[in-house]
Amino acid sequence: MSETARSGKLLLLVAGFLLWSSAFVVLYGLQGLGCRLGWEDMDLGPVSLNRGALLAAWVLHVGLIGVMAAIQARRRSADRGDAFIDRAGLALTFCALVATIWTGLPILTAGSTCS
């Protein structure tokens, strides 16, 4: 269905922030889950397993959004509406990137992950 395929472009506007939402939910959920399962007291190299898992989830999301931004930065649609989606979408994905980095910073700074 070409309609649905082409309308999918609208998703470019929100793709970055959907990933941000995912990062948010995963980080919040993982933190609680890890504490419930006692990951705070298990070591993963220099950090606790809980912090390690959180770091991994965070870096993964930042990476994904980064890739998303790179893809969007290269789009050059001819059509007016689509060109707007390219521009605004890139700006939004970039905002989402900054937001995801910022939201996850407490993982680096918090003392314990469970108190």
């Binding site: 269905m1 070409s2 309609e3 649905t4 082409r6 309308s7 472009k9 609208l10 506007l13 929100v14 922030f17 941000w20 939402s21 948010f24 980080l27 919040y28 959920g29 933190q31 609680g32 889950l33 504490c35 419930r36 399962l37 959180l54 059509d79 007016r80 509406g81 689509d82 060109a83 707007f84 989606i85 521009r87 605004a88 700006a91 939004l92 905002c95 989402a96 937001a99 910022w102 939201t103 996850g104 910073l105 407490p106 993982i107 700074t109 918090a110 003392g111 314990s112 992950t113 469970c114 108190s115």
Partner: protein, 842 residues
């Protein structure tokens, strides 16, 4: 001048008469059958204003009680009802419906369409809103209004501490109203995406539409958690399933999560439409195009998301680990940035433009002052040590009202004066609006500015009385006096509106010199808005083409002719904005009213615990909804229809992306959020609630849930096959299609049976929240399977009745969406049910 404002050529007159006959609503009692967006939008606005008056009177009662120490006006029980009702009425019955009303009235006109996508749904939403609101108001008159605060915290609102009917009134009444909000959100989203004027690519959309689009999207994601929370709490109260009872594995914090997951975005759901009005009116007043269109769009979308990452900041004092709080604090600091971007855009527009201090501008000035002040105190309470000082004092009441009244009520008043000439066709004759402004503005600040001080002096909120001599006497008296002034101001506003409608002078066309499409209609607008539909080639259609109104009235746009007495408007391709279908809309009917009655039966049955009424009402409701479909669809293929200007497009039931198909997509998005919240709730209880693991878990073999899942998958695949077979051009398709539909129904029925068996096998749903959560997950899947059965059988009936062909496949495609969704969530639900027993022992 004809009513349509056309040069009075015979042709234009005849077009107007024909269209008016097709689009008009019968007079007298027949007005109850109205589905037209102009009429229903107006009704929403009036009803919401009535609730504003009720909420305002309650506020006056609060101020009368608090004016002096030892106020003898009302006792604590009544005071609790009054402030709970004030908060609930203002948030749920005034602010949200008011913005819906404005959107319903304005959107089609701003976008260049003749109505919203689902006129009967508009009307149904209206009746649900009025009935649900009435339940609350009647309860208040009978002295059994909710009294646990507008946030209904458990355990205060659970059976133990609220044994009466009061809390049920809130849970059921508000959920009833919420149905209307979700309906509106779906309808608004589809309308904005699919029904703009040809040529209106999304970068040419009026900013108001952007704001409303984002708001509607937020409602789709924000309301389901609250609806879920209300259902769970009502089930706990009625059937003792202990979701929120810490003694039995539940957790009051789950309620707080679900409530604030809605509650914080709610603040933005109220503010964004206000900001949308500002972004619409301000450039017109400043006589300059808005500065930074793209940046505004970007910041509105960003706010829409970020505001969901803050909910826990209402729970900072509940002992959540610091790291988790850190995530939420971080998001809280971010959300201010996009709001700042908008404020700077507005200021830049003002500075670079040539602002005129007309009445709407005066109210916008009020908005700026009050809202920015509220933002500043917001920054103050965001500082944690400061928050500890003022938490739950009147300082917070002051802050909250600066934001809410500044962010919504002042823009709304500006909008009232701005669009009044459009609604009434008149301009004001008397300068009362200025006096009203100053009374409201001064009264507001006198009431709430000093309240900051009252709060700093330590006066807690939600107390019905206080001792003299603690320094609270004078500031409270001043606040009450200010409230009195404000009330006079609002009364004057009402008088002004009435005088205006009764004695105003006839408005010139487009009195403010605006450039958006709503001013291309006649004022007041004709029933069909536009005699023919515009083509748009920029952001300022009226400025780019000043002769547009007369062209449209003369029938020189799209669809400038009546066809077979049907109500027609255009659908466009979402991004390219080329016409891709003729949307045929239903005319006036009583069905929405009757369906809302049937819905009311369900709710009243639950409220008064007459449980046999509930299924009766539900079946009635379903039957009514089936009747809705009677007038839709066709018995033969029509192919492309001419739409004027040499272009043709198929009718919507022959088009790929019909509005109802998209409506199902967005409904499922909201439904998906509800399911995720439920799954989150189950996991949250396991991870965080006291009293786990449960004494007993369900004893299932892996193949039991697997069979349930298999039934759902079979149904989903059969639903897809039915669509595919239907598309094949061979002659045997109708029989094949029907067989697949039957199989889909059977798959759902099979799954349903297994889900019921699993639910029956769940040990002690009332003994532990584990059992309650398991049953809730199974019930969710079972409900969807049951409806899936109905969808499949409905498709079968439509197919037998001849409504379906290769071209006319809409019913089947909508059904297929449902079947697919049901399989996806159903499998997730049974997986979770099967996994929980293993998880809880970890």
């Amino acid at each position: 001048m004809s009513a349509a404002g056309a040069p009075s050529s015979d042709l234009a007159m005849r077009l107007h008469r024909d269209l008016d006959r097709i689009w008009s609503t019968p007079p007298g009692v027949g007005r109850l059958s109205a589905v037209n967006h102009t009429i229903v939008g107006r009704r929403f606005i009036v009803a919401a204003f009535v609730f504003f008056i009720i909420g305002g009177l309650l506020a006056m009662l609060i101020r009368a009680q608090l004016a002096t120490p030892h106020g003898a006006f009302v006792g604590p029980e009544l005071y609790n009802q009054i402030f709970t009702m004030h908060g609930s009425v203002m948030m749920f019955l005034f602010a949200i419906p008011m913005f819906e009303g404005v959107a319903i009235y304005m959107l089609p006109k701003l976008l260049g369409a003749r109505d919203l996508a689902f006129p009967r749904l508009t009307a149904y939403g209206f009746w649900c809103y009025v009935f649900g609101g009435s339940i609350l108001v009647v309860a208040m008159l009978l002295g059994v209004a909710p009294d646990s605060g507008w946030f209904m915290y458990t355990p205060l609102s659970s059976n133990t501490y609220s044994p009466g009917i009061n809390a049920d009134v809130w849970l059921l009444g508000i959920t009833f109203v919420e149905i209307s909000a979700v309906c509106a959100a779906v309808e608004i989203t589809v309308t904005i995406l699919k029904m703009r004027a040809p040529g209106m690519t999304i970068d040419r959309m009026p900013l108001f539409a952007w704001y409303i689009l984002v708001t509607a999207g937020m409602m789709l994601a924000g309301f389901p958690p609250l609806i879920l929370g209300s259902i769970l709490l009502e089930v706990e109260r009625a059937f003792d399933l202990p979701f929120f009872d810490p003694a039995r594995g539940g957790d009051p914090l789950l309620w707080q999560h679900l409530f604030w997951l809605f509650g914080h975005p709610e603040v933005y759901i109220i503010f964004l439409p206000g900001a949308g009005m500002v972004s619409t009116i301000l450039p017109v007043m400043a006589r300059r195009e808005i500065v930074g269109y793209t940046w505004i769009v970007v910041s509105v979308v960003a706010v829409g998301f970020l505001s969901f990452g803050l909910w826990v900041h209402h729970m900072f004092t509940t002992g959540i680990p610091h790291l988790a709080l850190g995530f939420f604090s971080a998001a809280s600091t971010l959300v201010a940035i996009p709001t700042g971007v908008q404020i700077f855009s507005w200021l830049a527009t003002l500075i670079d433009g040539r602002p005129q201090l007309k009445l709407p501008m005066l109210y916008l000035f009020g908005f700026f002052v009050v809202f920015v002040a509220g933002g500043l105190t917001g920054v103050m309470v965001a500082v944690v040590p400061f928050d500890w000082q003022v938490h739950d004092t009147h300082f917070v009441v002051a802050h909250m009202h600066y934001v809410l009244v500044g962010g919504f009520v002042f823009p709304l008043l500006a909008a009232a004066y701005y669009w009044l000439p459009h609604v009434s066709g008149k301009v004001a004759r008397y300068p009362l609006g200025h006096a009203a402004f100053w009374l409201i503005f001064i009264g507001f600040n006198v009431t709430f500015f000093i309240m900051h001080l009252t709060g700093l002096l330590g006066m807690p909120r939600r107390v019905f009385s206080y001792e003299p001599g603690w320094g609270w006497d004078l500031p409270n008296l001043v606040s009450s006096f200010g409230g009195f002034l404000m009330t006079i101001g609002f009364a004057l506003f009402v008088v002004d509106m009435m005088l205006h409608v009764r004695f105003g002078r006839t408005a010139p066309r487009n009195p403010w010199g605006a450039s958006t499409l709503e001013w291309a209609t006649a004022t007041p607008p004709a029933t069909y808005n536009f005699a023919s539909l515009p083509t748009v080639s920029g952001r300022h259609p009226l400025r780019d083409t000043p002769e547009l109104p007369s062209d449209l009235a003369g029938g020189r746009g799209y669809l400038g002719f009546p066809r077979e007495g049907r109500q027609e408007t255009l659908g466009i391709h979402m991004t390219a904005a080329t016409p891709d279908q003729v949307i045929v809309l239903p005319g006036p009917t009583y069905l929405p009213l009757y369906t809302a009655f049937a819905t009311g039966v369900v709710f009243l049955g639950l409220l008064f615990k007459v449980y046999w009424l509930v299924p009766v009402g539900a079946v009635l409701m379903l039957a009514m909804f089936m009747l809705w479909t009677r007038g839709t669809g066709q018995l033969r293929d029509r192919g492309p229809l001419p739409i004027g200007l040499g272009v043709s497009a198929p009718a919507h039931w022959e088009a790929a992306g019909a509005p109802s198909w998209w409506a199902m997509v967005f409904t499922l998005v909201a439904d998906g959020v509800l399911f995720s919240s439920l799954a989150f709730g189950a996991l949250f209880l396991w991870v965080s609630a006291p009293g786990w693991p449960p004494p007993q878990v369900i004893d299932v073999q892996w193949w039991q849930p697997a069979l349930a899942g298999a039934g759902l998958v079979a149904a989903a695949l059969a639903g897809r096959r039915a669509v595919a077979v239907n598309g094949n051009a061979d002659a045997s398709r109708s029989a094949g299609r029907d067989r697949w539909l039957l199989l889909a129904a059977a798959g759902h029925a099979f799954a349903l049976a297994w889900l019921v068996l699993l639910a029956l096998a769940t040990p002690g749903p009332t003994l532990h929240a584990y059992g309650a959560a398991t049953v809730a997950l199974l019930a969710y899947a079972g409900f969807h399977a049951a409806l899936g059965c109905v969808f499949a059988l409905f498709g079968l009936w439509r197919s037998r009745a001849g409504y379906i062909s290769a071209a006319r496949s809409l019913d089947l495609r909508i059904g297929a969406l449902w079947h697919g969704y049901t399989a996806a969530t159903g499998i997730a639900a049974v997986l979770l049910v099967a996994a929980l027993p293993r998880l809880v022992t970890l």
